[in-house]
Every structure is written in C-alpha cells, then in structure tokens.
Symmetry: D2
Subunit: 338 residues, 4 copies
C-alpha cells in the first residue's frame, strides 16, 4: 500500500480527499493534519466519514514514513510546508495556488507576496492530468490545478492546441459555493447568495493567469483571457461557458471530431451536446460540449464537480499516475445524475 | 406626518422596516441609526433602497422630536435603549425579544440574563395585531412578536381561544435563512444549508415560551408546546406545520368556518386549503390551512414572509394601529406569487 | 380612470400584470381573459391576488370599452387577436414576440411562420422605455420587449449608442425559471434544474435577433451578437454578463460617467459596481455595472426581475407613458433586497 | 456473478439502481427494460452512466436466465409483471407499493384497486433490512420499502420495539423533489417548488398505512400515525422530524443507549446528535438523532438519501442479503458531505 498523508484536512478539499482516499484500493491514508483540531476525531469534523475514517487529526507531519503528502493548505502556507516534506523523500501534491504559476513575478503580482520556494517551483509539474500525464508520471512534485482552470482548460485545450483561436477568449464561470471553502463569509451567506447569481472578482481572479499560462503553452503564443467567476445557488458543481472566435472556418462536426480525438483515451472527459452539471456531481468526470454560431464564433461549455475533478479527485488521479497505477483507480464511479 | 426613527438599521429587519416606511403615505422616516455605519449612506448598505432613502446612518438617537421609534436591535440592547426613548415621549415598537415575555423570571431563564427594565416590561403590549388590536391602539410601547410566534400563533389561535386542544401541540417550523440575520454564521453558510433542511435548537429555541405564553392566555390554561425550527434553503418565507389533538369531535368544515369567523375582519389572514409560501412573499399576509386526520388529530399549516408579517410589516401594522390609521396603510399589496 | 384588460391572464406574466395593475392609482383593471378558465375566479389561479382582484376570467374580449389592452398571449396568438382589438380603438401593448422584429422575413426565420399582421407590425413601437420614451408617448401599439433583450440592451445601449464596440458582443444570460412560463416542462422540472445551471438554445434563441436589431439601430450598423441563455435555480431574476471589445481606449471611470449621463433621468436604471439580483427582485429596476479588463475588454453586467422590468412592469411603464402619466406610477417601490 | 435485470429503467429509481449495480463486484447487470425507449442506449437517457453501462433498453423480459429481477415499475404495473417473473425462478425485488401492505383490503383502500396477485403478496417479505434481515435472507420475493417509510421507521423502530410510545406519532417529512419521479408535474415545476416548502397529501399519503403497519408489528399493537409530507427545494435527500409522547420517564442518554444497542451491528444507521442530510447524500446511510423535551416528549430526526437508502440502495442491500453477500457490498462508500 502507498502511504499517504493529508495536510490541512479540516476544509472541504481536505474532507473530499479523505473521502476518496478512504476507499482507494492501493493508497492507505495514514495521517490527516489540522493545527486547530489536533487530537479530535476526523469524523467529528466530517460526519459523513464516520465508519470510514478512524483517525484523529495530527497537529503536523514531516513527510517521514510517507510515500505521498497531499497539501490541502491555503496558498502561502503550502510553500512554507512543502520544502521539508519534499526533502523527506515523500512525493508532494499541492492543491493550493503556490506552485501553479511558473514565473515567480507573475505569482507575486497575483498573490501579493514573493515566492519563497523557487526550487520546488522549478520542479513542480502542473497536474492537468489529461494534458500532462507523461510528465506527471515522472514527477515528484505536483501543482494540482485550480477548479476554474481545470474546468475551462479542458474545454478549450483542443482549440488552443490546434492554434485555432483568434484573439481573446471570454470565460464566464458559474461555481457552486463549496468552492469558497468552509469558513462562513459574506459572499457565501445564504441570504446573500441563495436566491441570486453573483459575479465576483471580475477580471481580477487569481485563476486568470493560471488559465492563460496553460492555454498559452498549448498554442505556443500568449493567450488572452477575460475570466468572470459567478457564485450560483448550488453547493457542488461548476459550469464554464466560453466564447471565442476561430481563425478559420470549421464546422461543428469537425470540431466535435477533433475533440473526440483529442480526448480519445481520456476516461474522465466526455464529449456531449450540452453538458449537464448533475451528470458529473460526485465524480471525477468532465463533460464538454460546444456550438458554432455564425461560422466563426464558438461557444464551449464544460462542467465538473469543483471538489472532485476540480480538486481532490484530480489530485488522486495525479497520485495514481505518479505511482504507476491506472488513472481511474479509486475514482471509477459515475456522477449522481439527479 | 408621523415622525419615525429606526434604531439598528443595518440588519435585515432594519432594512425591511426602512423599505416599508419609505413608501408609507403617513409616516416620515427621519432617522436610521447604526453605530458602526454612522455617517454612511443607508443605500450603500441596502442597495435596493437607492432612489428611495436619502439618509445617512446616525450614530444614535434619543427619541426627541420623534413620534415613534422602532427598535431593530438585538435582545439585551433593546432594554438598554428603550427607557430613555420612552421617557422622551416617543412611542416605542421593539422588535427584539426583550419585552415579549411578561414574567421576568421566564425571560431570565430563556435569555440568560436579568431583565433590567421591568417598568416598560409591565407597560408593553404584545403586538400580535390580529389578537390584540384594541390594546395596541391604546399602547405607547409594543413588544413586536417574533417570526415563529407570529406564524404559529396565527395558525393556532382559533383552536386555543375555543379551548379545543387536548394536551401538547407540536410545532414543526421551516424558516428561510434571512431569519438568521445579516451576519455570516456556520448555520447559514451556503454549503452547509443550501442543499439541506437543518433542524436546530430542538426543544430549546427562545420562541418556545413566547408561543406558549400567548396560547396559554388564549385558552386560560398553560399551553404545552414542543417547537422544532428548521432552516430550509430559501431566503425569505416561513411555514409552520402544527400537530395537535382535539378534545371533541369537530369536522374540518366546522373548523374552517370557525377560522373564517375568527379572522373575519382581518385583512392579512387568509384561510386557504394548503398555504403556499410564495403567495405571501414580500407581503404582510398570512395564509392558514388545516386538515383533520382520523377525526381528532388536526394538522394546521401557516405561512408568512418572515421579514414582513414576521417582523417589519407587523411592526408597521402595529404603528398604524397605535396612531389610529387603518392597519393596512402602507402594507396593502399582495405577495409575489412566483 | 384608464380602463384596461389583460388577455391571457392565467400565466406568470398575466398574473404579474394583474398584481401590478390591481394597485395602480390611475388604471382600472376591467377584464382578464383566459379561454380555459373562463368563469373561474382569477384569485383561484393566482392565490396571492385574493383580496386584491375580485374578477372572474372572461373567455374573450374585443377591445370595446377599453382604453388599453395588454396581450399576455403566446407569439402567434397575439397577431391573431391584435388586429380586431386595435380596430376597436383601444391601445394595444403586446407582450409576445409577434411585433418586435421589424422585418417580417426575420420574424419568419426565427419564429417559423409568416407574419399575418403587417399593418400593425409597421405601426408598433418597440417598448424599450429608456430608449424610446418619446415614440412610446405617441404610440397606439407597443411591442413590449422580451426579458433577455431588456436586460442585455439596457446594459449595452450606452456603448452601442456611442459606437464604441468593435466586433462581436457575447451575451451570457442567467435566468430564473419563471421565465419559462407556467406549464411544467422537462427543462423546468426541479430535479433537472434545481441543483444545476443549464444552458439551452445555445446560439439559437429567438431573443437573439431582437437584441441585435436594437443594438444595430443604436450604432447605425448591424450588431453581431452571440447569445447563450442559461437556467439557474432561482425562480425570479435575471443577470446578463456581456463581453465585448472597445474600438478605442476608455477608462472604467469614463465609461461609468457615460452610463450615468445616458441614464440620467431614468428612474429605473441604477449604475452600480456589481449588480445584485436580489436588489431588483419584485421591482421594475435594473442594475448595471461594468469592468474594463486589459484596457479594451469590457465586461458589462445587468440585472432585472424577469417578470417585472422583463415583462409586466415594463408594460405598465409603457402604458403610463402612452397615457401621459409619470413612467413610475404604480411601479414606484424598491426591490426586496433579501 | 449474479445475473440481474432492472424492469422500468427510465426513471430516477431505475437510473439509480443501474448506477449502483454497474459498480457492484458480484452482480452483473444483464438487461434494463423500458417499453418506450426499447432499442435506445441506456446512457442516452441517463447520461451520467456513459462509460459505465453499455446496454440498450429492452422492451421486456420474462425472468428467464436471471437470478434476480428488480421491478422499478409503478404500483399496479408491478403486480401485473411479478407473477410471471417469479414463476421463472428469478428472485424478485419490487420497488413499487404493490407488495408492501399485507392486508389486501388495506391495499385496495389506499391504492384504489383490487390486489391481483395475492399469492406473491403472501410470500413477499418487507425489505426493511435493518429490521428483517433474517427473513430477507430466506426470501425469494421482496417488497422494497417506500422512501418515507424507510426514513421514518428507522428513526422510530427502537421506541416502538420497546413499546415506549403512548398514543399518536406525528411525522413531519421533508423530501427532495427527485422523490416525485422523472415526469414533470405542477408540484415539481421549479417556479412552484424552487423557493418554497410545500405540504401535500396531508393525512392522505399512501405511505401512511405502510409506516403504521411496521410500527404496529413492532409494538404488537396498532400504531397511530399522522403523516405530512412536504416538498423542499432540494433534489436529493429526505428528513423526517417525528413527535411522540413516551409512556414512561426515560432520559435522552438512556434513549441514545437504547438506539445504539438496537442498531449495534447495522452498518448503515448512524446515531448522531442532529442529522445532517448532506452527510448521507449519495450513500446508503441513515442518520438518526433525537431530543427529549419536558421529560416525556420525544423529537426524533432521521435523514436518508431518498433514492439510495430510500429506494435503489436498499434494494441492492436486500439483494446482497438474499444471496448471502455482506449487506454493504457495492454500497460501502460515504455520503458526499457537501
């Protein structure tokens, strides 16, 4: 069994990781940390795990004795903890934003502070499994993608890989509120968001440069991205509707064929007509659909479960790849549907 | 024009009072206080009031120059502020729980501290307008009922007035999340409550003795009440489903006739088959329906808008009565329906 | 009093019209028709109107004796009914799509059948009150705008009027489910839409040419529009998020100033930072906000209540204008906020 | 492998059964029927099953060659199909209401028609697995319990088994809308139920006699039940809040101990303080909590996923028991939590 630890297990991503790892046939969850909840039963915080996880939160871990450590810590905290864990020999999968932006100056611009771990930043492989599986297989350190970048990049990758996009892409993202984390805030206060759809951080969300970085690498030229996230009155789930212009005439059927080919061996991406968010809830799947309007305008739609494919599930998928296991191990179940 | 002030105008009840008073043909809203927001535009906090309310929050008021002061302050705070305002000659309508329980020892038991204003507690009239309109017309000080007591008592009053109830009444209440107030909490965090129905304070909610007090007065004997509130994933609205046994055989039609008679001249209570919450949203109306099961078990259902009839609307209705105006002035509009 | 009738009063728009007209100080609602419900109380179908509307549904009306007739009938039905009513001398306000597209061939292309009333199509004034108030004041026949066109056009009008847009505008619209009407459908079945956000009619919704027509007239050149509607799990309310490129450098502040000037005397449009849907619910208001990203990309956000400003409220506003009344008469109240 | 078929696979329960069986390690899903969809891919109707189920709907099956047949057909239809299937030698698990009420006259009273299969009605074992596991292990024909009876009976069984209840039990049930099935109806039309909590069939729901039957058998005397279901704006999940009086003084702790003992070896029932619906969503678990009020009034709360433990999951659990497999096989995963 692969020995794993989760650092920062009190939040939604930590709980979801624990949920998935508790059923994984080849990974043994050895420790879950939470500074504030050290000594308490994990299932007291995550009651749905009672009967599945019989661990207490540890105050901290070093990586010693672990094969892999998942960091479900906030950005800033991850890059303080990661160096020691990486030195211990454990593989690291960081779910924060700390190791996603390859350029430290871009990191500083968007996250507001210097990057303090350039060594691991250089080593970290961006864990968009459908795009970089070979690199992930060789990696010891994974920067697990953000939820919005996962959803939007999977929807756009075939177009940018084939250099078919002219000018800007406009990404209109709708996210369930669990993406905002476990701490109550004004934005996720039910009377504020429970009967509304609320745009936030218009043009200034930190996932913008992460999306642009991947799309730019795919097309070999800087990508121009406008990204507008919205909170919708749903707990789990995310839909990105994306607008762009093609640089040549391609029919919808040609695009669909291209998408089918691009994701041909990818278990978790389904090409469909119009994605239905509920079809992927609780699962690691992503549904992608598209429409061509007036010959050159493309609307791409992409749906995921923000906590699974957009976080914990993709981290487990990456872990599988790093240890030579089939990518779907422990993740091979369908979404809820309704 | 009647000069009015709202103390504690930054919360949902304060905003709702301001919304209603801003359109009232005979009440002029002169001041709205908020210690924390003093000097800021009211419409910055309540953006829906832009174009309707052109006031800044005041830090405090004394009651001087006012005909009536609405206290939309938390319990504990109200009884500190009310004595001075009452001395100024202004009528007082308190929307907190401070003046609802006539017995100070009951107050202490449920609110956890001594009552410090027994004088006004003795004078305060309980503002359940459909029951005590004559007393309210004579009053200078109103204890405005809580949202749950309003909804449940209106549904039960005819049965208790006629002394038809045997033993306990079980009240199963479902409330929109705006009842929890404007401050984010774990209970109203969308991921926690947005796809669930969550019971809370089972058997221990402070509205229990308030309901029991009124029902006991109506039947002339102590009433026995079990009260279980639930949060439902709705922002506005409340439904109480209530279960009790009759002490004699009465048909559904006889009960409906009795209800119709009881509320005959009451503009805001509608007897219906099954109440539909959305029919009262945004309005001061209450819908009441009932069913008789196996001859002696009654299920009563009652629906209100928790912020209007359950708070600000009833306060305005009481103000109308206190100043000799028709109870429906400024409140004479239907609910949204959908 | 102005004598009014509503044709097609059993749906949501008919109910909302009735709700608004029942409180209007200068309009008297004389008749409400429904072929299927003729002879039944209106308040049996719309229970929130009990105590406000004491009319039975009529089977049909001719326009005789009426000053104005609101057609809340489906497209296709309106153009069958309108000619006779218009001949009777009553003014007509049609809330269907039948008289919105000035070019009959465009109508045929998008609605799938010939236009059979070219005479009134030629006379009909498009009732976007904030843009065409002078024409509406002179009109006898109004084509009341669709909900999506109202929301999006109000957000975009200042930019197109000043010919500032380069190329395409992408409109990502999120609508509450009441926009789909009163008849149950698969799309509005709660298990299908209640925990999801569902795109539909991508690139093929009938409101597309209506939006393009107005924006094109504003800029004096054909406008290029991609429009993607989504259903969100909200009953009332609509938000449009719109993406476009400017043809010159303008700062956010300059744009905000331009918007403020454009809507200077318009009671129902509020310029804000980020619109909050709940601030306009139940009201005829529209909130518009915007952001400039990377100097030339603009994100415009616009929110309305789809049944009020997006339908019945705007119809009443137009009626006011047609009869020389202040546009806000009977509509002069704020949104619910929460 | 155990060969299984699902009859009536186009609805939500059929889809859920298929979802669970598709991952079951010892059951092989051989056929799924739908008269209307015969010949079409199952995954076209249930898109979340794409990649998991590669079957077409069959028009019908006889039971030949099957070890077990799940009937996910409406009441009335099941008792027409079951006899032939039972004769074929396949075990039958019926998820409709046809075989739950042991007394045919009670069936006729509540379902409105005669029971036409008294032979199998006599043989059918009521599949409340936590109560009747030994009988289920010996059975060839299972009447799988309804969603409301499962949720409420699990919460009440310990009290009725120990004959602790005096008089009536009042069951206030709140269900997600998926319980209403896949066909759009007025009751599940989003504008009607999406921002409301709607009681329905008050005192007259068909699950009432089913609940009373089991509770009566447990206590050895007829049980008196008032049952009020409500639709809440949630797709999946169910909470029952239940009110009753004890016939003797027992503390909360004594009750909790009794519950813990009663469900000691039951994998799927968790005793908790206050159940949280989201902790069981997507899983076969049930959470039960309780409170004692004024010494003799008990409030019991019970939560399940209505489609899993309230339907398809319990059917699989029963199938496991019938074939000598551990009850949790294929169901051994936690709820989603958020």
């Amino acid at each position: 069994m692969i020995k794993a630890a989760v650092v920062g297990g009190s939040g939604y991503i930590g709980g979801e990781l624990t949920r998935l790892l508790s059923r994984h046939p080849r990974i043994s969850l050895e420790a879950i940390t939470s500074r504030q909840l050290a000594g308490q039963q994990v299932a007291d915080t995550h009651p749905f795990l009672r009967g599945y996880v019989d661990l207490e939160f540890s105050g901290s871990i070093t990586g010693e004795g672990m094969d892999v450590v998942f960091l479900a810590t906030p950005h800033g905290a991850s890059m303080k903890l990661a160096p020691e864990i990486a030195r211990s020999g454990a593989k690291v999968i960081d779910l924060s934003g700390d190791y996603r932006l390859k350029d430290p100056s871009t990191y500083k611009k968007w996250y507001g502070h210097e990057h303090t771990d350039p060594v691991n930043l250089g080593k970290a492989v961006y864990g968009m499994n459908e795009l970089y599986q070979d690199d992930i297989a060789e990696a010891d350190f994974i920067a697990n993608p953000g939820c919005y970048p996962t959803c939007s990049t999977l929807g756009l990758a075939p177009l940018f890989s084939d250099r078919l996009v002219e000018g800007w892409v406009f990404i209109d993202a709708k996210s369930g509120t669990s993406g905002g984390g476990v701490e109550p805030t004004k934005a996720t206060h039910h009377p504020r968001c429970g009967a509304s759809v609320n745009p936030y951080k218009v043009g200034s969300h930190r996932h913008t440069p992460e999306i642009a970085q991947t799309l730019g690498l795919l097309q070999g030229d800087p990508a121009e991205v406008v990204f507008t996230p919205h909170l919708i009155p749903v707990v789990r789930g995310m839909l990105c509707t994306m607008y762009l212009k093609l640089n040549s005439d391609i029919t919808k059927q040609e695009l669909l064929d291209m998408y089918a080919e691009f994701f041909r061996r990818k278990r978790f991406v389904r090409i469909t007509d119009v994605p239905w968010m509920q079809a992927v809830i609780g699962s690691n799947h992503c549904e992608v659909g598209l429409e061509v309007v007036d010959r050159r305008n493309v609307v791409v739609m992409s749906a995921i479960d923000n906590l699974v494919k957009g976080g914990a599930g993709q981290a487990v998928q990456n872990c599988n790849t790093m240890f030579g296991l089939p990518e779907e191990m422990g993740l091979d179940f369908p979404g809820l549907g309704v």
